[in-house]
Symmetry: C2
Subunit: 452 residues, 2 copies
């Protein structure tokens, strides 16, 4: 029997083995040694297909990109760029779906993480990093009286659900119909393995539609526990909507009037709209906000901050995760928040977003293509008017697909129907390459479609 | 307005800022500089109390330990030991609740992780590490035809629920009454914020009780989707039970007869009972098994492996997590599995477990204390017969508390009512210190209790 198959019983009868901390002098597992090339990427995709179910080897939205010519695998990231396993370099406008905020492999963030390597990955109890970071989060977000830490975004949205219900002793949660505030999302209903009970006491509203919000609240009767809303509304394959002041205030008023909690789901938007929380420019504070992705520059960490009013409920709900006390991702978050406060990182990200979005608008006009850039300039989505007019209830967006295909071919990674992400690492050279690719992409759309 | 409060609107009008990748030359956030001491630990606990809700700054079961004299915070881990923020060193028998498998801050695991720092924490798509690790998992576990990767243990148990229901198009899951197979656990029912619907179509059985399993299956009628079982039964504050061959086979037969899936929840037990999966010594293979904690030596990673029969269901269910493609924790898992195969790590862990458990039994006899060590020797739980006789329906275990208090005072970190964990780093010197502490702990019990 090979040694890794040894069982407890076998071990019990095994001869005494030396008790030194072995393994430390062994060689590390060796990866591939040939340089990235189209053949390497193809080979990896083929191998992945053999050991993963379906497309579970990649992020769900990335599967679409390989069909548009993007590589299936990536070698590494640096700054705003990615090296594909196919050997091509891309300016990356997907940013790890929000993870890349200061630049991939950011030197001081990685140094902060590596400095924790001598601490141990995950001890039996918490370290000082937990306290430092909780204090920083409470000081950083104006609405924060307390903080909690976890791993995934959905850890924190799930905890938020528990807190709403524990705080109010009521059941109903209002959520945006098309949005993803963790599992189960409204659009998971009827998907494989999902039960009707998974969506119990959850009522949908339409973002920015105060009447639909009030109608949902009415349907909740006196059983309203919480109102979940995103930093903005970002449906797939459709224009984004920034929250109106009227809608945000209506959410706040509804919570105040009923005693329900207002939960700002800033998982996707953290630091990209307003560092104080995405609704801060509207003057509306949530009771709870949840944060992820950008906050530790892609290191596995999520956080929740909340107001005193629901601190007791947060204390008494049960939630646990093995790795939630891990110090290294907390060190990354501490470094990210320090850089946000002490450098011009946010200004640089906003400038890159403005240059790219305004640049696209000018190019669309030049080509005579009717297209919209919506959402915050740091997380824009591009839609083509003729696509939207023809789409009906489908998600067919042939012009978006033609545009993305050409832009990817020009070395800029974008998604046809998902919002992009800017980072503080996108510099003038990156912006120039993006606009050159957009120019070519718009020309391709104009050439391929009579109506645009 | 300070720079971190800048909003999208403000940025849009801001003057052009330099676009270099700033922040990289700034200093890292500085932690405490005074050495660990009781005052430092007290101060950290006080600060934590001000910014966390209740005891949410620590792992739930660790809160009990501070009341028994353990520090609230830890400075770092090395091998099998922890340095408390109070300045005391402990031989750690809690092992990060399973995370510490090869030793804290294991050199080659940390090297493998740090080597990924130049790759980027979390790219827009997957890296070669995903393929390497999925192939390794499929080759490592005899029942594995495919693999999936996530972060938390509960990510994988939640995905397992979806797969059971998607595969069978049925609803009912059978679970061990007292066990925690992710959220919601049977004992979460009625806890703050938890709804009856959260437990819909979930029926409890009693571990190792074939009749109760069949009764639960009968109650499920023809709606049985899955059977969840742990590597062994490890209730809090009670003796553990290893699965009987009869019970494991009854689970397998029930799944085969009904078409339901058998899910082995090995989150806590991975690599500690049998490297092939905890039921392998019984000759019973699950359809799906889930793994965590030890598998990446505490780096945030969880995995699921499964049989071909449910690969289609695994492909079609929706599941997503921002950080699930992160390469660094995968590099840790690859290195752990390599060490398991190529070194005597498992034998050393089993030997340390045998020495500690058999040593305790001899000491209990010497002191005339009636106590049991149950569960696998690598994850034992100690119970005192007189505690169990007096307990009734309570979790009061005064002898366990007295024992743990003395053992902690002697420099060995244990929990009074939770199982311990051995690691491959527990060497002869650690075992000697543990047995010396157990000797003192048993003497304290004998002295404090007339009945023992």
């Amino acid at each position: 029997m090979p040694p890794h198959l040894i069982s407890a019983t076998a071990a019990a009868t095994a001869a005494a083995a030396p008790s030194n901390c072995g393994g430390s002098t062994l060689q590390m597992a060796k990866g591939r040694t040939d340089p990235p090339s189209p053949a390497v990427d193809e080979e990896l995709a083929k191998r992945a297909g053999a050991v993963f179910p379906g497309l579970k080897w990649t992020r769900t939205p990335m599967a679409a990109l390989t069909q548009l010519g993007a590589p299936a695998f990536y070698e590494r990231g640096y700054g705003a760029r990615l090296l594909g396993a196919d050997g091509r370099e891309f300016v990356d406008l997907m940013c790890g779906f929000g993870c890349n905020f200061l630049g991939y492999a950011h030197p001081s963030v990685e140094r902060a993480v590596n400095a924790q390597a001598t601490v141990g990955a995950c001890l039996s109890g918490p370290t000082e990093r937990s306290v430092e970071l909780a204090e920083e989060l409470v000081s950083f977000f104006p609405h924060a009286d307390w903080a909690l830490m976890a791993k995934n975004g959905s850890d924190t949205t799930s905890i938020a659900r528990l807190i709403c219900r524990a705080h109010t002793k009521k059941r109903v949660l209002l959520v945006e119909g098309g949005a993803y505030h963790g599992t189960p999302a409204p659009w998971h209903e009827g998907m494989p393995g999902v039960l009707p009970e998974d969506h119990a006491h959850q009522i949908n509203y339409v973002f920015n539609d105060v009447e639909s919000l009030h109608k949902a609240a009415e349907a909740a009767g006196d059983d309203l526990a919480g109102i979940f809303a995103g930093g903005f509304s970002y449906p797939l394959a459709a224009p984004a909507q920034m929250p109106t002041k009227e809608f945000a205030q209506a959410c706040r008023d509804l919570a105040d009037r009923t005693g329900a909690l207002l939960v700002l789901d800033d998982i996707r938007c953290t630091l990209r709209i307003d560092a104080r929380g995405s609704w801060a420019p509207l003057g509306v504070q949530p009771d709870i906000s949840v944060h992820c992705k950008s906050i530790a520059n892609g290191h596995p960490f999520s956080a929740m901050v909340g107001k005193d009013i629901c601190k007791d409920a947060a204390a008494k709900i049960f939630s646990t995760g093995t790795y939630w006390v891990s110090p290294a991702p907390m060190a990354a978050a501490l470094e990210v928040l320090r850089i946000v406060k002490e450098s011009d990182a946010l200004e640089r990200m906003h400038k890159a977003g403005d240059d790219i979005c305004n640049g696209f608008r000018a190019l669309a006009q030049k080509h005579g293509v009717a297209a919209q850039v919506t959402g915050p300039h740091t997380m824009p989505i591009i839609t083509f008017d003729a696509d939207m007019a023809e789409a009906g209830n489908t998600r067919d967006r042939p012009r978006s697909v033609a545009f993305a295909t050409k832009v990817i071919d020009e070395g800029v990674l974008i998604h046809p129907t998902h919002n992009f992400f800017l980072s503080a690492a996108h510099d003038a050279r990156d912006v120039e390459q993006v606009l050159k690719a957009f120019d070519a992409g718009l020309a391709a759309v104009k050439e391929q479609f009579a109506e645009c």
